[in-house]
């Protein structure tokens, strides 16, 4: 191929071309600048700050409720995946915003309970401190005891809880009566009943281990030490902990018998496959309103206190729950307005009344429970069960900057799907967690 760049005419034309492109670039820059200026001018004329709020699709009605009750406030709502299942979308956006120095959401909702630890770390430095007067002491004091622990890092509160997601035992009261069973109070009792169901009523289930948050449902309430930050930067991770194996050894035979399924509860056919076939299921409070309607006949669903391990007080785990953060990059009138919206979304009954989860803010609890009870879904009183379970969440499962659930999913759940037992996967689960911990600068200990 001959090279046209060697010809003089070609060069001249090229220069001409270059000049044309320079003009074009200048023109487009000017255009951008003009548009930029005009929008800035409009914003200045409006004067009222626009508050940007990022939420998952489940939280959209809560923001819409705010907009409806506060027509004067301009909200720019963005829907995203809620940072669910260890996706880390929020971290990636904040990292980019940090890099360019703007674009942070003023308020953001996250389903990931570890996010206070992660976002408040010096790497992200995103959320505003709320217990320095930004949010009033009355509001902070209105939360159920211990519920802001996950939001608190070194004494600073970085978020407000949306709801409490403690696990309880859900069961189908109609099926229990029909089969002549009584509701178990211990994990051992749950297992015995599961074995009975497998032989007497095959096809019915007493639980599911098909999702990456099932470590919160089975290992957390068993006080399994795989996520226990015992002091700053030291974490106890021990997959061989008898507290871990006692749970998995109960579940493995039930999976084999089919009484515990390995299907994801949110898979497309879960509802049809297990329609009125869930005899029992341990799960977070929000399963009640979010998972079971349509699967369990209205009026047949009941709740019982978290299962205990026979001796000692019952403890439970929690799945998500949701956190509301406010940006530390806002100031002045925007900050005041953002703080009031944050408070409204997380504490006002106008918002909490339509949230599927049990409110963390005590004043909303009784009204929310009354609403749930009136929906006719439950056959027994949920208030005493939820209230007690909320105080029983085991504190040995700490918020950490990595997603424990995501590791559980890619080791234990995939192991189950390939025919392994849960017990056999504990070692790789723990060793991957230790890898994450070490790469984040933690010292890993086993059985301190």
């Amino acid at each position: 191929m001959s090279s046209p760049i060697s010809s003089k005419g070609g060069r001249r034309r090229l220069r001409l071309g270059a000049r044309t492109s320079v003009v074009a670039i200048l023109a487009s820059t000017l255009a951008v600048a003009t548009f930029g200026f005009s929008s800035a001018a409009t914003a200045a004329a409006a004067k009222k700050p626009t508050i940007s709020i990022w939420v998952d699709s489940t939280r959209v009605p809560q923001v819409k409720a705010y907009e409806k009750s506060h027509p004067g406030v301009k909200i720019d709502m963005v829907t995203y995946n809620g940072n669910a299942n260890g996706s880390g979308v929020l971290q990636s956006k904040i990292a980019l915003d940090n890099r360019v120095g703007n674009g942070w959401p003023d308020i953001v909702f996250s389903e990931e309970n570890n996010d206070a630890a992660s976002l408040a770390s010096p790497q992200f430095n995103y959320p505003a401190v709320l217990n320095n007067g930004t949010v009033s002491k009355t509001v902070l004091g209105g939360y159920a005891k211990g519920t802001l622990a996950g939001c608190t890092v070194n004494g600073k509160v970085y978020c407000l809880r949306n709801d409490l997601a403690m696990n309880v035992l859900f069961y189908n009261s109609a099926l229990m009566t029909q089969f002549g069973y009584s509701v178990p109070t211990t994990w051992q009792g749950w297992q015995t009943l599961g074995e009975q169901v497998a032989t007497q009523h095959p096809g019915y289930i007493v639980g599911s281990v098909g999702d990456n948050w099932d470590d919160d449902i089975y290992l957390w309430p068993s006080e399994c030490h795989v996520d226990d930050v015992i002091k700053a930067d030291t974490i106890d991770i021990n997959g061989a902990d008898p507290n871990c194996t006692r749970a998995t050894q109960l579940i493995d035979p039930l999976i084999k018998d089919g009484a515990v399924t390995t299907d994801s509860v949110f898979s497309s056919t879960f509802g049809t496959t297990y329609n009125n076939k869930i005899l029992m299921m341990v799960g977070p409070a929000w399963y009640g309103q979010y998972l079971f309607p349509g699967i369990v006949t209205k009026g047949d669903l009941a709740v019982a206190n978290p299962l205990s391990w026979g001796s000692g007080a019952a403890v439970t785990g929690e799945v998500g729950g949701g956190l509301w953060f406010m940006s530390s990059h806002v100031s002045g009138a925007t900050k005041t307005l953002a703080a009031s919206i944050l408070t409204w979304l997380s504490t006002n009954y106008g918002s909490q009344g339509i949230s599927p989860g049990y409110p963390a803010y005590v004043a909303d609890e009784s009204k929310w429970v009354a609403g749930q009870q009136a929906s006719g879904l439950y056959s027994n009183q949920i208030a005493p069960v939820f209230a007690q379970a909320a105080t029983e969440v085991w504190s040995g499962w700490s918020p950490v900057p990595w997603s424990t659930d995501s590791v559980f999913g890619s080791t234990v759940v995939t192991g189950l799907n390939s025919g392994q037992t849960m017990t056999s996967q504990l070692a790789s689960f723990a060793s991957q967690l230790a890898d994450y911990a070490q790469s984040d600068g933690y010292t890993v200990v086993t059985n301190p």
Binding site: M1, P4, G9, S21, S264, S268, G409
Partner: protein, 311 residues
């Protein structure tokens, strides 16, 4: 790339006068060529070369911006996710490039030897899946792979897959991603290779046939050696695209509600470092690793096949 598909091979001119006019035409065409290329060139500089230089700078600096030598490369190389990610991508590339080479060439040769009318219809069919852009094609595949909704559930049940989690086990992923890549990308390459085959002068093929070469001998001894450069070109691009696998594992991970490691491929690992650990230097080091691997493989192929040599 369009010119490759053109079916007219230009015939060489022999007289001096016509060669002069050809030169003039070439010069004119050359300038027009530059005008056309300039749009691409500017974008290449802005979004290809400048970011690459930026990445290389980042890869050799510490978080504070100081020169860090090879620290970022060593630290990322020692990370527990580094080797598995490259292992995954290696398995995937073996399957994807192997099948690309064998099946694409096979189908293109087949197309070339059947009647033109029929081949046009086939070319269209082959190309069709490629019209679905990356993310969309993965979504289509998510439905295909989920035994509970898949139109192919009968086929999946042969392997005893009862839910999406069982289909997308870690050991199946390299094959699954290779199938997706093949489905979406092979059609385009079949059309390109077919175009390259059309550039082979008919006389050559006829001469071979007169000498008694059968269809297979013509394909292997005449056609393939003549389109060797196109095959190299395809391999270089497919290799580079393959090492950068990101959308497929990311989307499958999201769709399965997190059953796949978020650092399955090296590109995902880089993304994780950048956005989960806020360490852009580590991420840059991995992207430079990928760049070096891509360049090395390209260099081997280019020199072995004399890709840039002009006869």
């Amino acid at each position: 790339m369009k010119s490759v598909v053109s079916e007219d091979a230009s015939t060489p001119l022999s007289t001096t006068a016509s060669s002069n006019s050809r030169l003039r035409r070439k010069r004119k065409n050359g300038v027009a060529g530059y005008a056309f290329v300039s749009g691409y060139f500017i974008l290449l500089i802005l979004f290809g070369v400048v970011p690459a230089i930026y990445a290389i700078t980042l890869a050799f600096s510490g978080t504070g911006g100081h020169f860090a030598g090879l620290t970022n490369f060593i630290k990322t190389g020692e990370d527990f996710r580094f080797l598995p990610a490259f292992e995954n991508i290696g398995k995937y590339l073996l399957i994807w490039l192997g099948s690309l080479l064998v099946i694409v060439l096979g189908l293109a040769l087949m197309l070339h030897s059947i009647a033109r009318k029929v081949s046009a219809a086939f070319r269209f069919i082959f190309y069709l899946p490629g019209a679905l852009a990356g993310a969309a094609s993965v979504l289509v595949w998510l439905f295909m792979l989920d035994p509970t909704v898949s139109p192919w559930r009968l086929f999946l049940s042969i392997f005893d897959f009862k839910n999406l989690g069982q289909t997308i086990l870690p050991s199946h992923l390299p094959l699954i991603f290779a199938i997706i890549a093949f489905w979406a990308g092979a059609g385009g390459w079949i059309v390109v290779t077919y175009g390259a085959l059309n550039n082979i002068p008919n006389e050559l093929i006829e001469a071979a046939q007169l000498d008694g070469a059968g269809a297979i001998q013509t394909a292997v001894r005449i056609k393939l050696p003549l389109i060797k450069k196109w095959i190299t070109f395809m391999l270089i691009l497919a290799f580079a695209a393959g090492t950068q696998l990101f959308v497929e594992p990311q989307l499958v991970g999201e769709a399965s509600l997190g059953l796949i490691s978020p650092t399955w491929s090296p590109n995902e690992l880089a993304y994780y470092f950048a956005f989960q650990d806020n360490n852009f230097n580590y991420a840059a080091a991995i992207s430079v690793d990928l760049l070096v691997i891509g360049l090395m493989c390209a260099a081997v192929l280019v020199f072995r096949t004399k890709l840039f040599e002009v006869e």
